[in-house]
C-alpha cells in the first residue's frame, strides 16, 4: 500500500505535511478529535529532520490505533494493548529509528496497563501519543479506565463505579521521564508538545484530551470552548508562574503541599507569590498531576515533567560494548564454549 505514488525526496530538502500522508483515507468519524491529532503529527514530522524511512508508528487496537495507516512512514497496527512492548523490542533492536506509539485510554491503560507502567520505568526512547477520550469508541461506547464516576454507558447503565486512572499521576508514579498533556482542538499547542516529546530522549508520554463526538461527546467541553477554557485550564511553562483566567488574573500558589487558587486582583498576592513551574521537579509534577482530581483547580496542560535519564537501549548498548572490550566473540569461540575439553586417545 501505499506511498508508492508519493514523491521521494532526499534530505535535507524540506519535507512537508503532504510527504507524511499515506494514500489511505482516514476512516474515523466526522468530527472525531483523531483527525486533528493526525493533522498536527503530519505537520510536526517534517520538522524533526528525520527521513520518513527512519520513522515507525506502532499501535495497538482501538480507534486511535488506526493512526499508522494514515502516515507515510513505516508502521505496524498490532494487537490490543501491546504496542508498547512491540515498540520497546523494535527500539532495542534498532536504536537509530524514531519510534512512535499511537494508543488510547483502553489500549494503554486497561488491557495494556502492565506494559504501560513497565515501559515507563525502563524509559526506552519512544514517543507515546495517548488519545484519551474517556470511552471505548471502536467497540461502541463502553466505559474506559479514564471514564468519570457516574458516566452512563452501555456497560454502565447505572453509572460508572470504577475510580478512574489519573494518567499523569500514573506516568509519574511509574517512573516515567516525560509527561505532557494537550487538547485535540488546540493544534498549535499540540504541535509544540509533540515536538517536545520527539526531542525528549526517553519515553515521552503525551496525553491528548480527545473528543469522541459519538459516544462521549463534550467530555472535555469545559476545557475546550473559548468561553470556559481560560478559566478552567492552565498552561504550564517552564520557569513561569502558574497564571490563568480570561484576564490572567488568577494564579495557583502552594500552601505547604496544597495548591490553592488565588485572585490576583482581590487577594493580597502578586505573581511573585505564585508557583513557578519547574519541569525537573518531580514533587511539583506530582502535585500538578493531581489537579485533575480536584474540580476547584484548573486543568493543567503543557509539559508537566521532563527528566534526563539514560534510556533502556543505551544502557543495554553500553553493557554490550563493555562486554566486547576484549573483542567481539567469534562463532568458533561460541561453539567451543568456555569449558571444553580435549580427549586425546580413542579406546
Amino acid at each position: 500500500m501505499t506511498d508508492t505514488d508519493r514523491t521521494m525526496k532526499t534530505l535535507p530538502a524540506p519535507l512537508t505535511a503532504k510527504d507524511f500522508a499515506s494514500d489511505q483515507e482516514p476512516k474515523w468519524c466526522p468530527g472525531c478529535g483523531d483527525h486533528s491529532v493526525l493533522q498536527q503529527l503530519k505537520q510536526v514530522l517534517p520538522e524533526l529532520g528525520v527521513a520518513p524511512e527512519n520513522i515507525v508508528f506502532l499501535s495497538g487496537i482501538g480507534c486511535s490505533s488506526r493512526l499508522p495507516y494514515y502516515l507515510a512512514t513505516y508502521g505496524v497496527h498490532g494487537i490490543h494493548g501491546r504496542a508498547l512492548p512491540m515498540a520497546t523490542g523494535l527500539k532495542i533492536a534498532r536504536p537509530e529509528l524514531s519510534v512512535w506509539v499511537g494508543t488510547g485510554d483502553g489500549d494503554a491503560l486497561s488491557i495494556g496497563g502492565n506494559h504501560f507502567i513497565h515501559t515507563l520505568r525502563r524509559n526506552p526512547d519512544l514517543n507515546v501519543v495517548l488519545f484519551n477520550n474517556e470511552i471505548y469508541g471502536l467497540t461502541k461506547g463502553q466505559y474506559s479506565p479514564t471514564s468519570k464516576i457516574g458516566l452512563k454507558t452501555v456497560t454502565s447503565p447505572s453509572g460508572v463505579i470504577d475510580h478512574p486512572f489519573n494518567t499523569a499521576a500514573l506516568t509519574i508514579g511509574s517512573g516515567g521521564t516525560f509527561f505532557a498533556r494537550a487538547f485535540d482542538r488546540d493544534g498549535k499547542l499540540l504541535r509544540a508538545i509533540l515536538k517536545r516529546a520527539a526531542e525528549h530522549k526517553g519515553t515521552a508520554l503525551v496525553e491528548i484530551y480527545q473528543n469522541c463526538p459519538i459516544f462521549n461527546n463534550a467530555a472535555f467541553e469545559a476545557f475546550a470552548t473559548l468561553d470556559s477554557k481560560a478559566d478552567n485550564t492552565i498552561y504550564v511553562e517552564q520557569g513561569k508562574p502558574l497564571v490563568f483566567g480570561k484576564n490572567k488574573n488568577r494564579g495557583v500558589m502552594l500552601d505547604g503541599f496544597t495548591p490553592i487558587v488565588v485572585d490576583l486582583d482581590k487577594d493580597e498576592f502578586s505573581t511573585s507569590d505564585l508557583w513557578l513551574h519547574d519541569e525537573s521537579d518531580i514533587n511539583k509534577a506530582s502535585i500538578l498531576a493531581r489537579f485533575a482530581d480536584d474540580d476547584s483547580l484548573p486543568r493543567p496542560i503543557g509539559v508537566f515533567y521532563a527528566e534526563d535519564r539514560i534510556t533502556y537501549e543505551d544502557a543495554l548498548a553500553a553493557q554490550i560494548q563493555d562486554a566486547q572490550k576484549a573483542g567481539y566473540g567469534t562463532l568458533e569461540e561460541l561453539l567451543k564454549g568456555e569449558n571444553s575439553y580435549e580427549i586425546k586417545s580413542a579406546s
Binding site: 500500500m1 513505516y74 508502521g75 497496527h77 498490532g78 554490550i320 566473540g329 586417545s345
Partner: protein, 628 residues
C-alpha cells in the same frame, strides 16, 4: 596441603561397560554440585555420558522429607548412551528420605552407599518410616548391597583442623561422597581440584577444605575394609579424539540462537519472561553480550513475544523462550506473527500441565497447543528436539526456517532435555547450514511500487525493514489484500490469503530432509515412531529388541508440521506403528488424521520420562500380538 600417605591395599578392579549412578540427598546436601562434578570428570575421562537432575520445584522444601529430595542421575559408558539409565546401579543416599524416594528405581542387587547420619531417628521420622524401623538394619534392603558410611562424621574428622565453622564443615560432606565415588570408579580427582580452586579463588582455604574432604572420601575407599569384596570398577573411555563440551538442552538452545544469528548476519534479540524449566535459555543468552546478543527480560510472557515481534520487524533474528503456561499467554501474539509473516523463533520447553501442573517435570503435552492453539486459521511450523545436543541443531533449524520462510516457528523441547546434559563434539561453523534473509532492497521513486505481500514461488514474502528507503509501508493484524497488504475485508481475498498462508507452511516440506529410519529394517513388523525427548529410551529399547532378533525399527520425527514428504510411505512399510508419548496421546491423533492409519498409542503422563525397559516391554507385547 598434606595428606596422610598410606599404602593402598590391592583391591580388584573390574571392567564394566556402563554404570548408572544416582546421587540423592536433601535439597541442601549439594547433590547437584556433586553430580555435576562427577559428570565433568567422567566426560573429560572420555566416557559416553548422559545426565539428568531431578529436584523439587520448591527452592528449599522441608529438610529431611521425601518432598525435599534432590537427585542427580547419570549414566556413563564405554558405548554410546542415550538416557541416564532406566534404573541405577549405584545409589548414594545421603538420608533416609533419599532412599525412600528412589529405591524403586535401583536395580535389584544394586549398590547403596548410605550416609548413616541421615538415618537417625529424626531423619527416619521425617522420611515417614514407621517408628523403630530403619531400613539399614531391618533387613528390608537384603536384595541390595548396602554400604553404611558415617559420611558426616568422617568429613568432620577430616576437616577438624580446617578452621572452618562446623556448619561450613558439614556442608563439605558431599565432597567426601564425590571422592569415594571417584575411588570406586577409578576416576581422577584432579579436575575437581582445579574447579575448586577456580570457584573459591578468593577463599583458598575453602577450596582446600573441599579438596581435603574429597580426598578423605577417596582414601577412605582405600583404607576401609568395607569395599574389599566389591572391589573397584573401571569404565574404559570411548569418545574419539577431539574437543568436546558438555551441554544441557537449554544451553544448546541458547547457543543455537546465537550461532544462527551469526550465520544469518543478523542481530539476536530474545524477549522472554522467566519460567521453569525454560529460564536457563534467557540466563545463558544474557551472558552472551560479547556476541552482541540483546536479551530483554519482559514484564510478562506477552511482552516477551511482542517485543520479539517488534525486534523481528526491525530486522533482528528474534526469539522468545517459554514453557506451557507462557505459550498459552503468547498465543494471541503468535497469530499476529503469522499474519505479519515475519520470522520468529518460539522455544517451548514443555512441562507437566495443565495450569501450573508439574513445573519441574517433563511432559510432551503441548503438542496440540503448538500445532493448533491459535484463533483463526494460523498454521506455523512445529519442530521438536530429541536430545540435549539435538536442542542445538533443532533450534538452529527453527531459526533457519523462520528467516528463510518468513514465519514464526515453534521449537519444542521439554523439562527433561532442558536440564539433561551430554558431551558434544564441538561443532565447526562450516558445518552449519547457511541462513539467508530475504531483505527487500531500497526503492527509488521511479521504481515499481513496493508490494509488501508479494510472494515468491514458495509463497514467501520479503522482509522490508524500517530504515530502508522507499519501502515505507503499513502492516498489521487486520486481514490484508493479496500483494498490496492494504487492509481488506473482501470475502474472496480472505479465503485466498488463508490458503496462501497455509501453502507457504506446507511448502517448507520442500526444504527439509526426508524422514530417515534411525535404526532397524526399512520394512518389517513394527515401527516405533517417536518425537522429542523419548528418543533415548526408544533408541535403547529398539537396539535391545533388535539384538533379540525382533523385526522392529525406530524413526524419530524432528519435523511435526509440516511432516517430511516421505513419512506416509515409511509408515506403510510396517505392519504396525507404535507411538510412545509423554502425554495422553497427541501425535497419534495427528498421524491417524493425516495418514488414515491406526497406530498403537503408548502413553505415560507421570512427569517422568519413559525408560527403555517400559518401551521394550511394549515392543515385545505388540510383536506377540502381531504374531498371534
Amino acid at each position: 596441603m598434606t595428606d596422610k600417605k598410606k599404602t593402598p591395599r590391592q583391591v580388584n578392579v573390574t571392567s564394566k561397560t556402563s554404570v548408572s549412578v544416582l546421587f540423592a540427598g536433601d535439597s541442601g546436601d549439594g547433590m547437584q554440585l556433586t553430580g555435576t562434578q562427577f559428570a565433568n570428570t567422567v566426560a573429560i575421562h572420555g566416557s559416553e555420558l548422559n545426565t539428568f537432575p531431578n529436584f523439587p520445584s520448591e527452592i528449599r522444601a522441608p529438610a529431611g522429607t521425601v518432598a525435599g529430595v534432590s537427585g542427580f542421575q547419570l549414566q556413563f559408558s564405554s558405548k554410546p548412551v542415550y538416557t541416564p539409565g532406566a534404573r541405577f546401579d549405584v545409589m548414594v543416599a545421603m538420608n533416609s528420605a533419599a532412599l525412600k524416594a528412589n529405591l524403586k528405581n535401583l536395580h535389584r542387587g544394586g549398590i547403596i552407599i548410605a550416609g548413616t547420619e541421615g538415618f537417625d531417628e529424626k531423619n527416619l521420622k521425617l522420611a515417614g518410616y514407621p517408628e523403630g524401623a530403619n531400613p539399614l538394619h531391618d533387613g528390608s534392603l537384603d536384595n541390595y548391597i548396602v554400604f553404611p558410611v558415617p559420611i558426616l562424621q568422617l568429613t568432620r574428622e577430616a576437616l577438624k583442623e580446617s578452621g572452618l565453622s562446623s556448619k561450613e564443615i558439614d556442608r563439605c560432606k558431599n565432597m567426601f561422597v564425590l571422592g569415594l565415588l571417584y575411588w570406586l570408579y577409578t576416576l581422577p580427582f584432579e579436575g575437581t581440584m582445579e574447579t575448586m580452586y577456580a570457584k573459591f579463588k578468593k577463599n583458598v582455604w575453602m577450596a582446600e577444605a573441599n579438596i581435603k574432604a574429597m580426598k578423605a572420601g577417596y582414601f577412605f575407599g582405600d583404607e576401609t575394609e568395607l569395599f574389599a569384596n566389591l572391589g573397584r570398577f573401571d569404565i574404559s573411555p570411548h569418545k574419539q579424539h577431539g574437543i568436546y563440551r558438555r551441554v544441557t538442552g537449554n544451553e544448546a538452545c541458547a547457543i543455537a540462537l546465537t550461532a544462527a544469528s551469526r550465520k544469518a548476519g543478523l542481530e539476536l534479540f530474545l524477549g522472554s519472561y522467566p519460567i521453569t524449566p525454560a529460564t536457563e535459555i534467557l540466563q545463558t543468552l544474557a551472558k552472551k553480550k560479547k556476541y552482541g546478543v540483546k536479551t530483554f527480560q519482559a514484564e510478562d510472557e506477552i511482552a516477551g513475544i511482542v517485543s520479539s515481534i517488534g525486534a523481528a520487524y526491525g530486522g533482528a533474528l528474534a526469539a522468545t523462550s517459554t514453557s506451557g503456561p507462557g505459550l498459552a499467554l503468547k498465543i494471541e501474539a503468535l497469530g499476529l506473527a503469522v499474519i505479519l509473516e515475519i520470522p520468529l523463533v518460539v522455544i517451548n520447553v514443555q512441562r507437566g500441565g495443565p495450569s501450573t501442573g508439574l513445573p519441574t517435570k517433563p511432559e510432551q503435552s503441548d503438542l496440540f497447543m503448538a500445532l493448533y492453539g491459535r484463533h483463526g486459521e494460523a498454521p506455523l511450523p512445529v519442530i521438536a528436539a530429541c536430545s540435549p545436543v539435538d536442542c542445538f541443531y533443532t533450534t538452529y533449524e527453527a531459526a533457519r526456517i523462520a528467516v528463510e520462510h518468513m514465519t514464526p516457528v515453534i521449537c519444542l523441547s521439554d523439562g527433561y532435555l532442558a536440564l539433561s546434559s551430554e558431551p558434544w563434539k564441538v561443532e565447526s561453523p562450516d558445518n552449519l547450514a547457511d541462513i539467508t534473509p530475504r531483505f527487500q532492497p531500497p526503492r527509488e521513486p521511479e521504481d515499481a511500487p513496493y508490494l509488501p505481500y508479494k510472494r515468491d514461488a514458495r509463497q514467501v514474502r520479503s522482509w522490508a525493514i524500517p530504515g530502508t528507503k522507499g519501502l515505507e509501508h503499513r502492516i498489521g493484524g487486520l486481514e490484508k489484500q493479496h500483494e498490496t497488504g492494504n487492509v481488506s475485508h473482501d470475502p474472496e481475498n480472505h479465503e485466498l490469503m488463508t490458503r496462501l498462508r497455509e501453502e507457504k507452511i506446507a511448502r517448507i516440506a520442500d526444504s527439509i530432509p526426508l524422514q530417515s529410519i534411525d535404526n532397524g529394517p526399512l520394512k518389517g513388523d513394527l515401527l516405533v515412531l517417536g518425537w522429542g525427548s523419548t528418543y533415548g529410551a526408544i533408541k535403547t529399547a529398539v537396539e535391545q529388541a533388535l539384538e533379540k532378533g525382533h523385526s522392529v525399527a525406530h524413526a524419530h520425527l524432528r519435523y511435526i508440521h509440516p511432516f517430511p514428504k516421505n513419512l506416509g510411505e515409511i509408515l506403510g512399510n510396517y505392519k504396525q506403528v507404535m507411538i510412545p508419548e509423554l502425554n495422553n496421546g497427541q501425535l497419534v491423533h495427528v498421524i491417524r488424521d493425516t495418514f488414515l492409519i491406526a497406530p498403537e498409542s503408548y502413553t505415560k503422563v507421570q512427569g517422568v520420562p519413559f525408560n527403555e525397559m517400559e518401551i521394550l516391554t511394549k515392543i515385545t507385547d505388540l510383536l506377540k500380538e502381531l504374531k498371534s
